[in-house]
């Protein structure tokens, strides 16, 4: 009897979290991400040297130099420090647009899906137009027209992800809305707002969340890509994509250093994807 009592009363998110703990790959990815985030957040305290300090005589020092563990870049700045500081903007590029698009997209999708009918159709048809743009192209077009700048690329990326998240939120809401428990809630005489908050939101958030975690790596690759094209962060600000671009001149002399910022993007993005896969399969449990 006591064991049965123990099983009961576990909330959905608790079970998901519990499930996630048993996925070594996801757990390892989460740990790696934590490390990368901490290094970026505490860069001002952890970094061995000033990421902006240039030195003409110490240009392109190889990896393993006594003063520069990961060498120096084309202007003699310490790579390790720049990579740590660079993580701040690159990670921001990965997380912020997805978060904003998640909030905005879920709201629109919930509204459209719950209202249904013609209003829903109009909203979705309008978003279909954005679907006609491949996402890289849309991001480049918007930030290209707006001109270089980090805020512009954040804006562009958010705009790229909103239609996708709206579509997911809308389709899940439409499914949930047809379920009997929504009818039962309507039978109680509750207002639509209360029904959406209590009965719809909790059941829509999960799938949208899974989709959004899958976008994190896309967002970071795209965001750093915009900086790589010169459309995002402006020099001398450290950012992985931009560093990759400015180091292109060094691929003959110090190819390993030139490839380093990209390797950071790659590792972080793999960790994001593996964690997203873990979250997806953890949430796939039969509720």
């Amino acid at each position: 009897m006591s064991s049965r009592a123990r099983i009961s009363g576990r909330s959905y998110w608790f079970v998901v979290f519990h499930q996630l703990k048993h996925e070594p790959v996801a757990l390892f990815s989460a740990l790696l991400l934590l490390l990368i985030f901490l290094a970026a957040i505490f860069a001002p305290w952890l970094a061995p040297s000033d990421p902006y300090a240039t030195s003409m005589i110490h240009r392109l020092q190889p990896i393993g130099s006594p003063d520069h563990l990961l060498g120096t870049d084309e202007l003699g700045r310490d790579m390790l420090s720049r990579l740590m500081f660079g993580g701040r903007l690159s990670l921001l590029m990965g997380v912020a647009p997805v978060f904003m698009a998640f909030v905005i997209g879920t709201s629109i999708g919930l509204f459209a899906g719950y209202v249904g009918g013609k209003i829903n159709m109009i909203i979705m048809r309008m978003l279909d137009v954005f679907y006609a743009f491949p996402s890289v192209l849309l991001a480049v077009a918007i930030s290209g027209a707006l001109g270089p700048g980090m805020m512009n690329s954040l804006f562009a990326l958010t705009l790229v992800f909103i239609p996708q998240l709206v579509r997911v939120a809308e389709s899940v809401t439409t499914q949930v809305r047809k379920l009997d428990y929504i009818e039962a809630a309507r039978m109680s005489g509750a207002r639509s707002f209360s029904i959406i908050r209590v009965h719809v939101l909790g059941n829509v958030l999960g799938p949208v969340f899974v989709y959004a975690t899958g976008l994190l790596s896309v967002s970071m690759i795209l965001g750093s890509g915009l900086s790589f094209l010169g459309l995002g962060v402006k020099p001398p600000e450290p950012e992985w994509g931009l560093m990759l671009n400015t180091l292109r001149s060094a691929i003959f002399k110090e190819p390993l250093i030139a490839a380093l910022p990209g390797a950071m993007i790659f590792v972080t993005s793999i960790a994001f994807n593996l964690l997203a896969d873990g979250v997806r399969s953890a949430m796939d449990i039969k509720r």
Binding site: R4, S8, Y12, Y181, E183, R186, S188, R287
Partner: protein
């Protein structure tokens, strides 16, 4: 004379269907086509019919889960949702519904006690009171509150979930409960338990049931009155014993003889009814059953039979039962008439 608690007047619901992009002709499924009936307080009205006959639509219309095209619902003499009548929100408290799918009708993210107390909290009961009440109700439907209150729906069996759904409906202290195929998805043994529970609760809470089912055994067991629907219309209605023993409509008789008998001496020899119900977009003219009816005559294809009493409270819509209808004198040449009348 016991009071009538619920009156349904000329209820109609047509669902529009689009044939294709370029057809201008608007077509409709005649889901519920002009039905009227009364529900007596304290009795159980069973509604039976094949799938697609409009039983569930009727339930949803009465519960105001979808708007009717026309018609009125009168509850305790007050028109629901009418000006000067009963407000929808108060009506919600008095009429509740239990759905067929016990799992889909429970929010998977809420605990059992949260689900039950949600309704009363909408009606301004405090959270504590609502939860206390939820515990009481769980005990009433035969679930130990200490064990079940904080569980999630996926941790319960189908029968347990349906008990929770019943408790949720009762949390409003309703007068009428619509049970829409409420036991259809349960195992036979669990079904019997839930049916007995429903009987007990009915006596305790002085409830009136609308029991919708395709299972004639179950309807026979639980109902006081029975209403038979065919293609969105009522074909026969009356006290359950009378209808089951002296069915007057050929369709009711066909339904009843289709029940597998427990007695090997009464094996069903031939299928009493053949074919599928006709397309509800183009229902047959006259009596909607005439193209499947072995007694059909010409008049059946041309004239719509009205619901008329055969005995005091037993009504039927069939020309055969009403001497003045002209059935006796009508030719049997139904083929000709129906060919002209149906498209």
């Amino acid at each position: 004379m016991t009071p009538i608690i619920l009156q349904v007047r000329n209820l109609k619901k047509y669902f529009p269907v689009r044939a294709n992009l370029f057809s201008r002709e608007q077509k409709f499924v005649h889901a519920v086509d002009d039905i009227s009936f009364n529900v007596t307080k304290g009795r159980t009205l069973g509604i039976v019919g094949e799938s697609g006959c409009g039983k569930s639509t009727t339930a949803r219309l009465i519960a105001n889960l979808m708007p009717a095209d026309s018609g009125a619902i009168i509850f305790n003499g007050e028109g629901v949702g009418e000006i000067g009548g009963l407000e929808l929100k108060s009506f919600r408290k008095k009429l509740q519904m239990v759905f067929q799918d016990s799992f889909a009708s429970l929010n998977p993210r809420l605990t059992i006690s949260e689900t039950i107390s949600y309704g009363p909290m909408v009606h301004d009961t405090s959270k504590e009171d609502a939860h206390l009440q939820a515990h009481d109700l769980l005990a009433k439907v035969g679930l130990d509150p200490d064990l079940f209150a904080s569980r999630y729906p996926h941790e319960l069996s189908g029968g347990q979930r349906q008990r929770v759904n019943i408790a949720r409906a009762l949390a409003f202290n309703p007068e009428v409960v619509i049970l829409d195929e409420a036991v259809a998805a349960l195992d036979k043994s669990v079904q019997a338990q839930v049916l007995n529970l429903l009987q007990d609760l009915k006596a305790e809470f002085e409830l009136t049931y609308l029991f919708i089912s395709h299972d004639l055994h179950v309807v026979h067991y639980i109902s006081d009155d029975v209403m038979v629907m065919y293609l969105g219309q009522i074909v026969e209605m009356g006290p359950v014993e009378q209808v089951y023993s002296e069915a007057a409509h050929p369709y009711t008789r066909a339904l009843l003889s289709a029940i597998p008998s427990m007695d090997p001496a009464h094996r069903t020899q031939k299928s009493p009814i053949t074919g599928d119900p006709p397309n509800p977009i183009h229902p047959p003219s006259g009596c909607r059953f005439h193209d499947r009816c072995e007694h059909a005559r010409a008049i059946c294809a041309s004239l719509v039979p009205a619901l008329m009493p055969v005995q005091s409270s037993h009504v039927v819509a069939c020309h055969m039962n009403h001497p003045s209808s002209g059935y006796e004198t009508s030719g049997s040449d139904v083929q000709y008439a129906s060919a002209g009348a149906t498209r």
